[in-house]
Amino acid sequence: MVKKVYNSEQIEIGDDYMKVSKEEILHIANLSDLILEENEVEKYLSNLQEILNFANIVSNAPVEGLDITIGSNEAQNVFRKDEIKIFEDNKSLLQNAPTQDQNMFKIPKVL
């Protein structure tokens, strides 16, 4: 039961369509390489639940049989020659790196 909505007082979407659990949001945060502090989890969880309940309007849209649209311009492949173009200004590229060494990005040990 979806009502026409324009502000949150008018939202009437019923029960949580897909209930998100605490474990799930922590899993999603992990996939996103984000850390949620213990005191943040509840807030993000209730925000996410509220937004998903709203977003669930799409499940009632009359889209039976419609194709998906990925981008708004007509689907077409754009080809160009595979030519190497060298960006020569290494210095200005590397100046943004938090740490660098001998013209290279420096990162912590991986293995």
Binding site: K4, A29, D33, L48, I51, L52, A55, T69, S72, P98
Partner: protein, 491 residues
């Protein structure tokens, strides 16, 4: 004469007739920034000293005959998500607080080719995610009409700077309304071009299938002029369209006789503020008086568009913002024990709450088990929205709606309620979902003196139609002659 009150085409005339020099113009803007920026807080980075120097150089070159060009020496402001070589591009985020781009965005290159002078980088919601510019990491920009109100967003700095005469015109970007809604809130003209008309190369990506750069200006003619400068195919952006060059000022005919305007009744529903509705009704009457054929019709897509917009935009953002990992550029956490922890802590400390919220939502709707229910459905809704607009454009040349359901709201009144903030985009997002052009122009003020915006939507690449419709209305109503920002402040 107050130089900063003039539009760009008026400045051009005065340069031509030698009434004004380039240095006079730039100096007037620098003085204005020094006077008013403390109230408006529109800039993340000001380039006032650099601009003054550049104005002298440009003037010398013109005098020596080394350069010509009708825009040489005109100043501009640029939203801080467009890369400017050698100048910080922060996206109003702690993540990019110290980022200096090694290259210019294509639009910036085009401005440089015209010897247009950059007065600075303008404030925005962090990574363009928001509708009030309150989500900037650095500062809250204030609405020049009432300093206790938001300027809208995410291009709030750009719209406020144009309204407050801190810049003669500005560039903004629009993913779900981020040019049009702040333009509406600040009583200026904002154009979101058709997806693909302007290159996105060097625009920090938020949602790549929706993002588009466009002009924010004092009037419609300036909008057409700036679009002339920035439009065009770019091999560095494969989604940019190859089309014949158009002079968008040629379409400004001050005539809408026989123009077919469709008014979708769903965009005038119960959630739209009464005074906004009344002002739009008056605008409709004006169009009728001017000889346009106005008709009500049904376009029942607003809520589907909004829901699918937040799914698609967040999904794309969660992917686009994956690049911020604290390695090659951007914020890096000071303390970490291994690479994974470096990534996670840098991202968690570098992004603000709204950005994290959208990354989490985007990752959720793309994750296994929910992809079909949310993301795929949203993409089908996108097809539905395009089909419904196509039906509309079979009958009408222009679709007319409010730009925003309300006028500018109080600072702090929505910033803690993400969904409430999202609902403010209800009138604008469908235009991005379908990749259409849309322009917001002021059509009146409410009882508190806050500007109300009207949105005109055109079919793909029909910028000329909506520009002429907007221009004709503007010539009739003369909003700028009647109303000016008052810099009001509550005690």
């Amino acid at each position: 004469m107050d130089i900063t009150e003039l539009t760009v085409h008026e400045l051009q005339e005065k340069i031509k007739s030698k009434e004004l020099t380039i240095t006079q113009i730039t100096n007037a803007y620098v003085d204005r920034i020094n006077e008013k920026e403390k109230d408006v807080q529109a800039f993340v980075t000001t380039l006032t000293e650099e601009a003054k120097k550049q104005a002298i150089e440009v003037e010398e070159k013109i005098n020596k005959g080394e350069i010509t060009g009708e825009f040489a020496g005109i100043p501009i402001g640029i939203k801080d998500n467009m890369c400017t070589k050698g100048v910080k591009t922060t996206c109003s985020s702690k993540m990019l607080e110290n980022f200096i781009s090694p290259y210019d965005a294509t639009v910036v290159e085009k401005l440089n080719n015209e010897n247009i002078i950059d007065l600075g980088k303008l404030n925005m919601d962090e990574f363009a995610m928001g509708g009030s510019t309150e989500y900037s990491y650095f500062k809250k920009t204030r609405n020049p009409w009432n300093l206790n109100k938001v300027p809208g967003g995410s291009s709030g700095g750009s719209a406020a700077a144009v309204a407050a005469n801190l810049v003669p015109w500005a560039l903004g970007s629009d993913t779900g309304g981020s040019i049009r809604q702040p333009s509406s809130f600040c009583g200026v003209v904002g154009l979101k071009p058709t997806y693909g008309l302007v290159s996105r190369y060097g625009l920090v990506a938020f949602a790549s299938s929706l993002d588009q750069i466009g002009p924010i200006t004092k009037d419609v003619r300036d909008s057409a002029i700036l679009l002339n400068i920035i439009a065009g195919h770019d091999e560095k952006d494969s989604t940019s369209a190859s089309r014949e060059k158009v002079d968008y000022t040629k379409c400004l005919k001050n005539d809408v006789k026989g123009l077919k305007i469709g008014v979708p009744k769903e965009f005038f529903g119960e959630g739209i503020n009464k005074e906004v509705k009344e002002s739009l009704q008056k605008a409709i009457e004006t169009y009728k008086k001017l000889g346009a054929e106005v008709e009500e019709f049904s376009l029942d897509i607003a809520q589907y568009s909004l829901a699918s917009y937040y799914i698609i935009a967040c999904a794309e953002a969660s992917s686009n913002l994956g690049r911020f990992d604290g390695i090659r550029y951007g914020y890096r956490t000071p303390e970490f024990t291994n690479l994974k922890e470096l990534y996670k802590k840098s991202r968690s400390e570098g992004f603000g709450a709204e950005v994290k919220r959208r990354i989490i939502l985007g990752t959720y709707v793309l994750s296994s088990g929910y992809y079909d229910a949310y993301y795929k459905k949203a993409q089908q809704v996108r097809t539905l929205v395009i089909n419904e607009f196509n039906k509309g454009f079979e009958k009408y040349d222009v679709i007319l709606t409010p730009t925003s359901p309300t006028v500018a709201f109080d600072i702090g009144s929505k910033s803690d309620n993400p969904l409430e903030m999202y609902l403010a985009d209800i009138c604008t997002v469908s235009v991005n979902i379908a990749g259409l052009p849309g322009i917001s122009i002021p059509c009146g003020v409410d009882s508190q003196g806050m500007p109300i915006g009207m949105q005109l939507i055109g079919n793909k690449f029909c910028e000329e139609t909506i520009l002429n419709a907007a221009y004709t209305f503007e010539q009739e109503v003369k909003f700028r002659e009647k109303y000016k920002p008052q810099f009001k402040q509550n005690a």
